[in-house]
Structure formats: C-alpha cells, structure tokens
Assembly symmetry: C2
C-alpha cells in the first residue's frame, strides 16, 4: 500500500494525513510534485485519470482517489476511533456536514482559487483553462457568507457535526486553512468558528 | 419519520426515492412546493437552514439533509441490499465514484442551470443571486467533456463503480437525467454511457 501525496498548500493530501494521525495509522507516502506536473504524467494518470492527488494504491494495484473515499476505506479497515459515526443518525449527520462544508464552502473556495489567484494563472494558461475572474470574485463573497452561516450553525457545540470530533472537522479545518492561504480569513464576527478553529488546530493531528 | 420531498424536475429528491425503491423501503412523504417557495419558509428553514430538499425528519425532530447522507442513514439501518459497498475496497471505490460524478459532472451542471437556464432567471432575480452566463456556458462544455471521460472510464463494466449496482449508479442517473432536462444530452459518441443509461433506466426503481 502506498499513498501518493504532496505537501502544503495542497489541502486534500493534508486531509488524509490528519485522518491517519487521528487513527494512529502509518502509510508509506510517495511525493508527487504538483509544481513539476507529475500528477499529469501518463504513469500517474493510469492511477487516477483525473490527474489529482491523493491516490491510495493497494498492493493489487487498485487505486482509490478522492480524500474522503480514502478515509472511508481506512475507517472500514480500522473502525476505531470512529470518525464517520457509529449509529445510523451519527453516520447521516456526519456525512451531511462533510457534504455541507464541501458543497457550500469548498466549492466557492475552489472557484476563487482557480479563477482569481495569481498562483493558478500560469497553470490555467498551460492547461487551456479559461478563467472567469468576475465569477471568482463573486465566489469569494459567497464563501464569506457561508462562513458566517457555519458560525451560526455551530453555536453551542464543540464540533462541526455534534459533540464528537469527526471527519467533518477534518474537512472543515483543511478548507478553512486553505482559504487562509488563498487570503480569505474567517470573518472577525464569526466567534464560534474562530474558537472552533483554534480548538481543532491545537490537536496534534493538525500538524500532519 | 417523514421525508420532505418534491417531484421532478428536482433531481435530488428523486435520488432518495430511487434508493428507497431499491431497498424496498417506504417512508411517508410530504411535498414541499419549490415553486411557491415553501423551502424558504421559516418553518422549513428550522429543518434545513440552507432551504433545500430533501430533508428526512426523524421522530425526535432530528433533521438530516443532503441526499447521499439520508441514504447512508437508511443503509446503516437496513444494510441489505448493500448500495454503498460491503468490503473496505468496495466502500472506498463506491464513495470515490459518487464523489467523482458529483464533483466532475453535477458541479458543472449546477453552474449551467443557475447561470444560464431560463427557469432559474426569475428565481435568481428574486433571491439576489447574480448570474454569470459566460461561466455557465463554459460549464456546459466542461460537463460534456466529463461525460466523454466517464464514457471511457466505464468501458467494459456494467455499473459505474464496478460489477454491482450501487449508490454511484443512482447518483449518476439522476445527474444525467437532470442534464437532459436542462438540454444537455449524453453525446452521440458516448456509447458506453448511453448503454449504461438505458440499462439503469430499465430498472423498476428508476420510475420512483
């Protein structure tokens, strides 16, 4: 088994590393240098035709991509500590929160990143991806609005999906930290979200 | 238990109905008329602050939104037939495929729908949502490109995630049928995808 990985600022590989740290699991890593385009090489595209990392390659050659899917694989192999929930209600609510932060925070953040950030300009030009800066700027405001929404939603609880740490916290942490890298900080008024962020960032796994 | 629901063309409630039909489960439905804005009423926003359907309300008042999350709740309650996989590898790969069709097909389709379709124009105006038609049109081409990509990926197999029907087939069916409603048909050259679509559409659950 091998995990194809890359260091920050890429948020997705970090998500799997935090998950593994919380599970106290160790998986051999192989670095795929995004800057040199290694994720678009024919060899890597055979593992993931979308040319994205991370990818978990099993010993029989099966390749699982998508961060949350890799984590679900490990959760099924090593159920404790449960990070996707134990009871049907926990499983439903944790999945709901993973989806909410991905569809309502990460989706907007991706549009800011790809359409407006200086780092992606040369990449888009090389890949023939047209950028839409006005849409990207609108996405920035939508992301800020959703941070305020999330701040209200988590009032009175310690974790994103309820009273226990879960994959929803890992997903949210990596999204908000990448937003910070992109230049979009948690708004000053979002006191619940700021406190949550400080709490989760203090866990040893956050350094993964 | 009650499922807040709406009829076509809304693709998401249909996704849960197909899942329940495959599981041979019956859940009381309550229609939320999107056209009249019932999903934005204060009463409904207490169930889902995002104002989206479907929502599954449990007897204790717990509300689970997000289609896939509702289905995971039912899968945990009623494991057979398994639609999210049984082994760790099946669980990982089915989740990967759900995410792939959502992030690479549905995400583009949503942008076409919200930014270019005549049906959403008045809605956006009422809700203060600025439309970006050029971005929407680019998303149409990106969706078509991804349909061709998916066509290549499923060559030689009967189902989206492998050799068994799963939630990934349900997700893909509802996305492609909604694309058809929006006016984006499966491209002529995508023979694998067309054959898959005919096969899945012939299942009794597709009428749900």
């Amino acid at each position: 088994m091998k995990l194809y990985d890359e260091k920050m600022p890429a948020p997705n590989p970090r998500r799997v590393r935090i998950f593994l740290a919380e599970k106290r699991l160790t998986v051999p890593l192989e670095r795929i240098a995004l800057a040199s385009g290694a994720h678009k090489s024919p060899e890597f595209l055979r593992k993931n035709s979308l040319g994205q990392i991370p990818v978990l390659e099993l010993d029989d050659g099966t390749a699982i991509s998508e961060t949350v899917s890799i984590c679900r694989y490990f959760e099924a192999l090593h159920p404790e500590p449960a990070l996707f929930g134990r009871t049907p209600v926990e499983i439903g609510l944790i999945d709901m929160w993973i989806r909410r932060v991905e569809l309502h925070l990460s989706a907007h953040l991706s549009q800011v990143w790809i359409n407006t950030h200086p780092y992606t300009e040369a990449y888009c030009a090389r890949m023939g991806i047209v950028r839409y800066p006005d849409f990207g700027e609108a996405s920035r405001q939508r992301l800020l609005d959703r941070m305020i929404w999330l701040d209200g939603e988590i009032a009175g609880r310690n974790f994103i999906a309820g009273d226990a740490f879960s994959m929803a916290d890992i997903a949210t942490l990596t999204i908000l930290d990448f937003a910070g890298f992109v230049g979009i900080a948690i708004p000053e008024g979002a006191a619940n979200l700021k406190a949550w962020h400080a709490r989760i960032s203090a866990r040893p796994s956050a350094a993964a």
